[in-house]
Symmetry: C2
Subunit: 511 residues, 2 copies
Amino acid sequence: MSLTEDRKEVPLYIKINPIDNVAIVVNSGGLPEGTVFACGLELKEHIPQGHKVALADIEQDGEILRYGEVIGYAVHSIIKGSWIDESLVRMPTPPDLDELSIGNKVPQPLPPLEGYTFEGFRNANGTAATKNILGISTSVQCVAGVLDYAVKRIKEEILPQYPNVEDVVALNHNYGCGVAIDAPEAIVPIRTLQNLATHPNFGGEIMVVGLGCEKLAPEKLIPDGDAATIVVLQEQRGFHQMVEKITKEAEEQLKRLNSRKRVTCPISDLVVGMQCGGSDAFSGVTANPAVGYAADLLVRAGATVLFSEVTEVRDGIHLLTPRAVNEEVGRKLIQEMKWYDHYLDLGEVDRSANTTPGNKRGGLANIVEKALGSIAKSGSSAIVGVLSPGEKAKEKGLIYAATPASDFVCGTLQLASGIHVQVFTTGRGTPYGLAMAPVIKVGTRNALAQQWHDLIDVNAGQIATGEATIEEVGWEIFRMIIEVASGRKETWAEHWGLHNALCLFNPAPVT
Amino acid sequence: MSLTEDRKEVPLYIKINPIDNVAIVVNSGGLPEGTVFACGLELKEHIPQGHKVALADIEQDGEILRYGEVIGYAVHSIIKGSWIDESLVRMPTPPDLDELSIGNKVPQPLPPLEGYTFEGFRNANGTAATKNILGISTSVQCVAGVLDYAVKRIKEEILPQYPNVEDVVALNHNYGCGVAIDAPEAIVPIRTLQNLATHPNFGGEIMVVGLGCEKLAPEKLIPDGDAATIVVLQEQRGFHQMVEKITKEAEEQLKRLNSRKRVTCPISDLVVGMQCGGSDAFSGVTANPAVGYAADLLVRAGATVLFSEVTEVRDGIHLLTPRAVNEEVGRKLIQEMKWYDHYLDLGEVDRSANTTPGNKRGGLANIVEKALGSIAKSGSSAIVGVLSPGEKAKEKGLIYAATPASDFVCGTLQLASGIHVQVFTTGRGTPYGLAMAPVIKVGTRNALAQQWHDLIDVNAGQIATGEATIEEVGWEIFRMIIEVASGRKETWAEHWGLHNALCLFNPAPVT
Ligand SMILES: [Ca+2]
Ligand SMILES: [Ca+2]
Ligand SMILES: [Ca+2]
Ligand SMILES: [Ca+2]
Ligand SMILES: [Ca+2]
């Protein structure tokens, strides 16, 4: 990345790769026609912030290069200094999944990072936790109204007596009854619910509220041989007794959870998820590379790091399969891409359905450009594992966890995969939060960090203006993960109690 | 329907149609081997309550008849007095959609029922309402956490100052951003959200909270030319200001809504939805026929009645197309069945995915038997219109509103179609409720009404034991609709504030 200047007032652009023939305008509010950069480049027209300027003349059908990759072809000839609006960019075909190199550029292991720990909770099965939460799972959507009523009462009347328990969370969702439970793809929502029910932040306590006539019986959420509390509403004598029963069973679990204390755990016990939402052209040059740097630090310290979002990886897949640690991992990565291509085909759309109007206003021409910025979150280490949607992470190191890009769908699936903390980068801004694990929000622009002063936890915008380096912000994120995982620092989402409902990924039909 | 006896202690079965060769056991706990009915039939084995007894010998591959229809074929020969468990019933193929008669048995209009009114709210556009609610719509799931926080505060601090407003409801959902907005089927969730935003129970006040970068822009939820309040979170200076802004805008609408008073409205202004959930073998002989009788009363009084649930209609479609008022309505009915067949095909399942373990324990052998009981909710009048999922009802009279059978998906779609009240029948029992409109729950069995004494509003179980007739319970439901629509009587779900979140039907892929 080359910065032409490091002060705010002078015109700035960011060029990522030496071969790029476009760069993005840094200055807030954009830059007017006639602006001259230090390098001598003169703007032929106004260019909004985050949008692309042509660094050289590009002929019709010529390659438009960013991140050293072709992000598209010129619809007509473009003169140096012009604004390359999305309408000028013809999208390339996605990488051919049958022609990818696997494992031919596996990165060498990075030097180990030793001595970092966090203060977490130790579970009986050996896993660690960053929160001490009572989670109440549900086997079917029908029970949600009753459980909401009961949980409100438990939080108001019972929880205050158990100060070491941080929250009571109802795992409500839209699944369980009117579902094609034998459809081939039903395994996705089912294993997601199974893995959510045993999330490490629930301290090994499993509680399920079911109705009694649902297809997804409560027992199906509980691993064989594990102790669990099940409340079946059809066995209760009415609403009042349902609420009493749930409250009483919850209190038994609260007593046990309340006896837990934070203990020192190695960083290698952590599972950290990376996601982006509301991306702009800065995502790929500020927040995502800083998160990628933090991902490398975590991997060096022995932790597990997940990155996700198939439609934002699909167009950069040729940059990822060479990093697969072996043939099997590379094949599974390709298989997840193929599964998603087919899934989108059935719905008569393709990956171009991903980009939003906000992405485009933010300067992203298409999904190719978005993807190249998105995969920066993965850092630079070898990819040691691949998870299908909702599978639990088992390996240490960098793992690709296949999920839709949609923020709360990805969040729910990463929780099922076992994340203890999520790092979420945002350019346009989204007030994202999860109930089951802390979320650290990283903003891509100074203006967003100023505007959303009580929502953005880390400002990576300083990277664009030269006030901070990727390394510095990467370390800031890494240290913040430790503080948040230890309960010493609250994220803004935790501070406000801000979170969305779970959002299951169900590729099977609804009946 | 023939009842062999009308006292509880003697053995009872229900045979629906004179040609049926099976009947269901009425007695709670079932009946033991050797039981002799008044007609002389003797049980060859124990038969659980709600399960089928063979009234005659049936040879292998012979027709098993209930509701005067073939519900399946005998897997092996069955002796008179035996239990016909689901494993003995081979499912028939569904009616061929290209071979259906249309409009050849259009029922004559039933005699008008005059003079019935309810005390509702009158909207500026001429529609009526049964509730006076501030509804706050959302264009994207990302805003849900912030809106939940704001609505909690509004309900606690502001709403008490506006006593004529009954509730503040956040219309949160899982849609808007990471969605294939141009997919052919995306029209379903989009029009659902559009029609929910303008639900008559919101009194013509339209308020939408959006993020700012979503595909489904807030403006897309608002009909052309309608006044509306839009709050865009990306335009606010942080979380605190978001909450302030939503609260301030909501209060403006609360002031206007608070000035409204109930006025006398004709029943013909009502739109009533019929649904069943957690069905058993009694659903089709007690609750659903009583609801069908109430549907006829509503149609006679000039109201609009919706029935739904494609997979529960599919196997009885040959009984419905003859009731279509004209060729166009009949064709649209068939088209909705074909759309769903195709939708299930894509997911590699068929309509047999509908029945739940609870249905089967309740005595329903398969979806054919379930469907024949389910369509009883439609009563006996002509079908005058058909709605695709989420379309708004325009005609008066009986309308088929195509929806999945899944309870909260159907509920959400019927709300989009404009229902003011829903009547919900349940056999196994589900604590169902909606936030936007009252739900009257009708139980199919005496035991359920006793057990769930503080959840079931109407007990249709007395029909099975001969303590009440279908007509009597039908009138009870009709009168209760009027009381509930007038705000004079609270349903149990209203009493407890019991409701589930909206559950959008999105047949398009998630990206
Ligand atoms: Ca993203
Ligand atoms: Ca995302
Ligand atoms: Ca049903
Ligand atoms: Ca239903
Ligand atoms: Ca209600």
